[in-house]
Symmetry: C2
Subunit: 457 residues, 2 copies
Amino acid sequence: MAVDETVRQHKYLLDESQMPTAWYNIIPDLPEPPPPPLHPGTHEPVGPEDLMPLFPMALIMQEVSQDRYIEIPGAVQDIYRQWRPSPLFRAHRLEKLLDTPARIYYKYEGVSPAGSHKPNTSVPQAYYNAVEGIRKLTTETGAGQWGTALAFACALFGLECEVWQVGASYDAKPYRRLMIEAFGGEVHRSPSDLTNAGRMLGANPANQSGSLGIAISEAVEAAVADPTVRYALGSVLNHVLLHQTIIGEEALKQMAMAGDTPSLIVGCTGGGSNFAGLSFPFLREKLAGNINPRILAAEPASCPSLTRGVYAYDFGDTAGMTPLMKMHTLGHDFVPDPIHAGGLRYHGMAPLISHIYELGLMDAEAVPQTECFSAAVKFARTEGIVPAPEPTHAIALAVREALKAKETGEETVILTALCGHGHFDLPAYDAYLNGRMEDEAVSDERFASALSTIPVM
Amino acid sequence: MAVDETVRQHKYLLDESQMPTAWYNIIPDLPEPPPPPLHPGTHEPVGPEDLMPLFPMALIMQEVSQDRYIEIPGAVQDIYRQWRPSPLFRAHRLEKLLDTPARIYYKYEGVSPAGSHKPNTSVPQAYYNAVEGIRKLTTETGAGQWGTALAFACALFGLECEVWQVGASYDAKPYRRLMIEAFGGEVHRSPSDLTNAGRMLGANPANQSGSLGIAISEAVEAAVADPTVRYALGSVLNHVLLHQTIIGEEALKQMAMAGDTPSLIVGCTGGGSNFAGLSFPFLREKLAGNINPRILAAEPASCPSLTRGVYAYDFGDTAGMTPLMKMHTLGHDFVPDPIHAGGLRYHGMAPLISHIYELGLMDAEAVPQTECFSAAVKFARTEGIVPAPEPTHAIALAVREALKAKETGEETVILTALCGHGHFDLPAYDAYLNGRMEDEAVSDERFASALSTIPVM
């Protein structure tokens, strides 16, 4: 057999000394500011004091900051440097399989302790809570990536960590719970009998498998009941997107190392933090006229908030307890089908991303899950990384574009966000490879019904 | 809470261009050559022709090579560079937890596609078979790390891959099987009804849970039955240890980057390939008088071939079908207790490591598994990596030595091999954290009984 003996550059690494030392806040660079969140009762803009029972003041100030750059504290930098800067890879072998003139790069966050991009924000969140004397953080988790990331961060700052995990995931994905426990976190199956919300909602047999909404209620209740405890959220909010921008700041430097400029940047969107993390620093350069990439969100066909939702004030949770946020939403009681990409099953989109989408600065496309896993298997068998179900959406759009480039002959330069590995999600691959995966079809009536629940302002 | 804002250097990375381009063969540097393997029938040294039905000629030649360096083919370098050079880390946070003056470094192989050091040899093995026109490779796997690594390598060279997995592991660790299938490999539960050996041995109900010995018999039978098929082994043999030396060659450069010289090098030993990979290049420098580290093998208390075995000619498999190898052995029908470190449950030791141990160039200590997991949990909660059960043995000895250094005040410099992550082994952590893990005690009678089966030469 003829074997190609070519040796190529696959990885673009930055030395620890080249790691960015500030996060990037895109808000002051936008042509207009995003609409503020509103109090659910008064419909007046939410003030810092409304958030104090939930978050430390440093994070509340970041949520509303107008500073373009916010310095990363030394203690956070020190922890980041265990796995950051993360690698940028050139997907030579995938390109060869696709026989495309496109050049495909991927920024890989699966090298983190939790196997995803989530520690980029769990570490600073734990840090700021520790500095303000907090004893314990509570949170919810679905599949478990965010719970793992927060447990890791809490271990490093001597904080306790209590996680309410969606019952169905608790039962089906035991390895994620064990990973949280290995890091010293405590995990409860939600609904639990430890909170009023859990006892009340759990009394209804229909709720026994849990939901993210119920788990949030339990974690929030546990936090506000004790002044030494705070709550932590893993996506959606401005300060979470802010912390993730270190991904894009690094990728800018690494694309320069590679001597290439992306013509397309694609990331998956659930709450939006991974997508924002990679794309916002490139969007800054685009707004400054330095580069002109198309910026593309990949969302699941079963939960397409950008492409099928409306831009309106809606609740962040199903029970309607949170502030009202102006965002692309499918309606706060839309329950997505149980696709394998659990991290993308959210009815809304980060308000900041929604605002940028409305400004026409980015695009979005929805992808059905079998197309995602078809692309992911090609990726795994060439690049050697089995992606988490969430980033398979970005990979699927990268493959679509690479095949278009094959038709046109265009040397498209694609940069994609590979936000985590799929080591704990292998049953999804099993379902795909053995013909047991279906594309969920959401009826127009079901979308219309959920949209009708959005509050009229 | 007071938070330490110190920013430290955690990672020592080499650029792809600094990756070693040759493997190191220690045999010509040893004061005397290792004893040859013997034919089980004639007791004469085994010749290349005896091995041709199993391995391609290039690997047979490497098995007996007297060259100090063997060039890594371009196609293999190209694949290595997806994840190599692998990172060397300084364990600052673990050191702080232990309050030790020791400096602890770990070379991490969990960044590979299979999550362990195994692809360092699966890739060249698949390459040499592809070059010689082979269509398919067969192998056995226990917990599944080796099967995963070989499936990945076969995918890249267009080879089919057929894996017989020990029945008990097939049932208990489904994620590893799914990972092999994601890479395109085919997995059979062993004993299977696809081979004479499987049908014959499987007829005995006592064999239904399988063993590595049975799985080897099946994979070997399938390979020798078809001239377009060969067999691949993941440890023990000289050519496997050779391929792993890239670990130590990189670590030599990285310790120089760190400006430090190890006084202790510690790695876990099952078949011995990970330990040899890290230590042989340092042993070369020790033999040349350039450095003088203590080189220490960490073996499980339940399967201590170096510290409790004898140095004798014995079979490599339980059924007694392989050549006789001079090695430290507990006896070829010694069946180790079912500890979580499945990769260390081998009755013998690589002949080359056994020879070096007899020459007095290295030491060995046995560690009970609860001490291993106690050290591993400390490691996970500070360094953020959950180690596979196998390298917890090396971490446990590193912790022992770091605590000794705390007593003496000595600035011991410890270099340890972290050969893989434990993402597929989390039930072991669950057992430890919830008090369900026991230290197996092997009776003197059981050791003596197994030793009595070693053939008299």
